[in-house]
Symmetry: C2
């Protein structure tokens, strides 16, 4: 147990310094490493395995909803980026510019894609001719670059991995439906795969994506009460179609402009997992994306038959879950701490006495509950317990959000809440930018979203007191 204590002491407690606790976990759980490349990180095998699991499940959901993967160039010539006015204004200040190829200066500089609307539109202009070619439902998995000033692993890096869906539709309504469909896919993924409850809502005009007519978001609350925008879905109308001259022959035989969407999630989701579920012993992983779901730790492994039995059990576990045995020379205590740090959902302990009794001990990572399980019941009990861990994580996160959500009727109330707490403040809002700016200036709160499930919390704007019909959520955000 001395070893275990040493391990545990090695990370900062979350109550003491949440930011430091976060970076400690990133490092000690072997998720990422720093590099000498400005604002970029190295995603290490354990962190990347989480991303692969996320990709695998999410990609299946995309394909089930009819989407196909493609790959677009990573560069955008400046003239292409400039085609849509609002879009270029939003992104040009934060892109990396390539100016030279080999020894030669380029005649036109190119940026590394910060997002690929322009590239998809250029291609769509080539392949969309008739209403029969619609909808086009494309997605790509790639990395993008945004020149951020301050960075933190997974949460905000100059380069990050993501997926970006880009679709084209015959009618505005079909595009709007797609925007909502994908927002629902994201919400479902966060809740059912990552055990992270989210609020679905629409962004204010101020927070909208550059070039979009409407931006939808899923907002998650981290353990410290701050919000994390975890996925967005945009409706563009036909703005890009016009800018890129994409037309199709409609059912009426006349040329028409298609309606567009895009939607994205990124490695930021790994930051969300850390800050939603982690604790002072380290990472806690939702079972669906855990690279190791069950770690098998032999107890008194030098005793006859223990390693063989542990190996046998591991082999059996592998037929229905992701299991690993640690038969290294490290002490059992060290192993307990190590795999708690790495957030493995279940630990299976098997020693001589367990063997005699034909049983083993399973320990849940989320609440440390110990459950004695008969060896011949593993195939039913392990999946049950993995589900229990998932549910436990979800409930705990939901409770945290509920405990940290308040309602404010006016500035005084909002101020009082914001001064003493971190969390979501729900209120009514008149819709004016001025009130949104005032909330930021006076209370340090940004608008998170206008929830899809609107609430009637009163009749007047929290800020100006004028009549208001929209409910909105305010918070501090990562």
């Amino acid at each position: 147990m001395a070893d275990q204590k040493k391990m545990v002491e090695a990370i900062t407690s979350m109550d003491e310094d949440f930011a430091k606790w976060y970076t400690d976990i990133v490092k000690k759980a072997d998720l990422a490493d720093y590099s000498s490349v400005r604002g970029c990180m190295v995603i290490r095998p354990y962190g990347y395995a989480i991303w692969e699991n996320i990709q695998h499940i999410m990609d299946g959901m995309f394909k089930d909803t009819g989407h196909e993967n493609v790959y677009m160039p990573m560069f955008i010539p400046e003239s292409l980026l400039q085609k849509e006015k609002d879009h270029v204004e939003g992104f040009a200040p934060e892109v990396a510019w390539v100016t030279h190829g080999g020894e030669e200066k380029l005649t036109e500089r190119m940026c590394v894609r910060p997002t690929s609307e322009t590239l998809f539109c250029e291609h769509y202009a080539h392949v969309i001719n008739s209403y029969r070619d619609l909808p086009k439902l494309y997605n790509q998995w790639c990395s993008v670059v945004r020149w951020e000033k301050t960075t933190r692993p997974f949460l905000r890096t100059c380069e990050f991995l993501w997926q970006e869906g880009h679709t084209m539709h015959e009618t505005a309504q079909e595009a709007i439906d797609e925007t909502e469909r994908m927002l629902n896919v994201y919400a479902q993924f966060c809740e059912q795969t990552l055990a992270i409850p989210v609020v679905k809502g629409q962004k204010t005009k101020k927070e909208q994506f550059a070039g979009a007519q409407a931006t939808y978001t899923i907002e998650a609350m981290m353990h410290d009460g701050k919000a994390l925008q975890s996925g967005t879905s945009h409706y563009f109308g036909d703005g890009f179609s016009k800018a890129f001259d994409i037309t199709f022959q409609g059912r009426d035989n006349k040329p028409q402009y298609p309606h567009q969407t895009s939607w994205g999630t990124s490695t930021r989701l790994i930051g969300a997992i850390i800050m939603t579920h982690g604790d002072d012993n380290g990472l806690v992983l939702p079972p669906a994306i855990a690279p190791i779901q069950v770690i098998v730790v032999p107890i008194a492994q030098h005793k006859e038959g223990v390693l063989e039995k542990a190996g046998e059990i591991t082999k059996q576990l592998k037929t229905f879950c992701r299991a690993k045995m640690d038969d290294s020379d490290n002490s059992a205590g060290w192993k307990f701490a190590e795999y708690e740090m790495k957030g493995v959902p279940l630990r299976l302990e098997i020693g001589p006495r367990d063997m005699e009794a034909g049983q083993c001990v399973l320990v849940r990572r989320d609440n440390r509950e110990k459950i004695v399980v008969k060896l011949d019941e593993l195939e039913t009990k392990v999946p049950e317990l993995l589900k229990a861990v998932h549910d436990g994580l979800y409930e705990k996160a939901l409770k945290n959000r509920e405990n940290r959500t308040w309602t404010a009727k006016n500035m005084e109330e909002a101020k009082k809440i914001a001064e003493n707490n971190n969390g979501f403040i729900k209120s009514m809002w008149c819709g004016d930018l001025e009130c949104e700016l005032r909330m930021k200036e006076e209370l340090g709160l940004s608008s998170r979203c206008m929830p899809m499930e609107q609430e009637h919390l009163g009749d007047t704007c929290v800020c100006c007191g004028k009549p208001a019909s929209k409910s909105i959520i305010w918070g501090k955000a990562y």
Copy 2:
């Protein structure tokens, strides 16, 4: 059949103009599209689905051999690239340079990775401390950029998708073993998955990777007799380790330098598939990576029950292979030509008369053979036929290589062969650069590799006539 003829006429015949035939297929089979980004291509859904299948199978082979995936930054600061002298000399002339972030000029320019040895080494310096940390067996799937002057879709583009393995080992022998192991993985993948026979061999010093001590290659022969380097594996010794100051505490408790390898394959493999198996009717896909393995075409689909039956069969096929039904309004002839163009290995035709007889017609893409199959035998017959297509493709490609491989004892013989044919010329070689350069200058041939399976073809160099003990293959290459 009029429709079919029209489709088929639309591509250039391979004998008439092989280069044009190639780009016709890329376009008409919907594999890729051009973009306004210099030398970069758009990989369309059908082309990308092939790449996903390649990735899936190859990644499984990497994991089976103990490798883990990671992700490194896409940028390399100039000072980092310069750390290894030979490496920077090889790559600096062909990289894209980022000089500005947003509005700001960078204090140090960065290139977009052309390959990531330097980034892996920087990270390895952080995480390798003891012999217990070795081997490190990492791989990454990403895109890289090389500023090529002339480009062709899949074969040579400024940006391409690839995987790059980077490993570190305790001893030189272990690293050399890894280099060979991965070359064998590549060869096995090409032969068993892509039905492409390859020659395994070592590159000459002239053709070695920048910074490597030895480069191994798999060389495939395309239909026109030209060679395509389809995968490479490099042994670096401890050169980078020294340049990057990577040391580990050895079993003798003394600091030592680890030994390094890297190995890569790319979307170029899709080019290899096109040029090895394609014909004048279009693409021909090896079944293992075909996005659609069986296309179901209902015959006289307006007749009662045909569509229902075809749908039923498709559903059944989908339980054991990748199948699709085309129930569009297009004529059966159009569909035949369309899926031949797309290289679908098997076509299943089902019409009223087939239904009555409880059978269907299967047509092989590779040799157009028609096989009548009882509907209740599909589950055994379809996999058999897919395997037969694979074997047929492999045999045909092997025969082409055999027919286009010659042996030359001296320059006169070599010249005569090279003047009249495209293919591999085997000979003995003394090992001198001068002879290698003369082969290029006088015959237009580059050295492809010194095969792992060495042959005794004589005792003297084909070029200078001096004693020679190495057999080598010469050819023209893509």
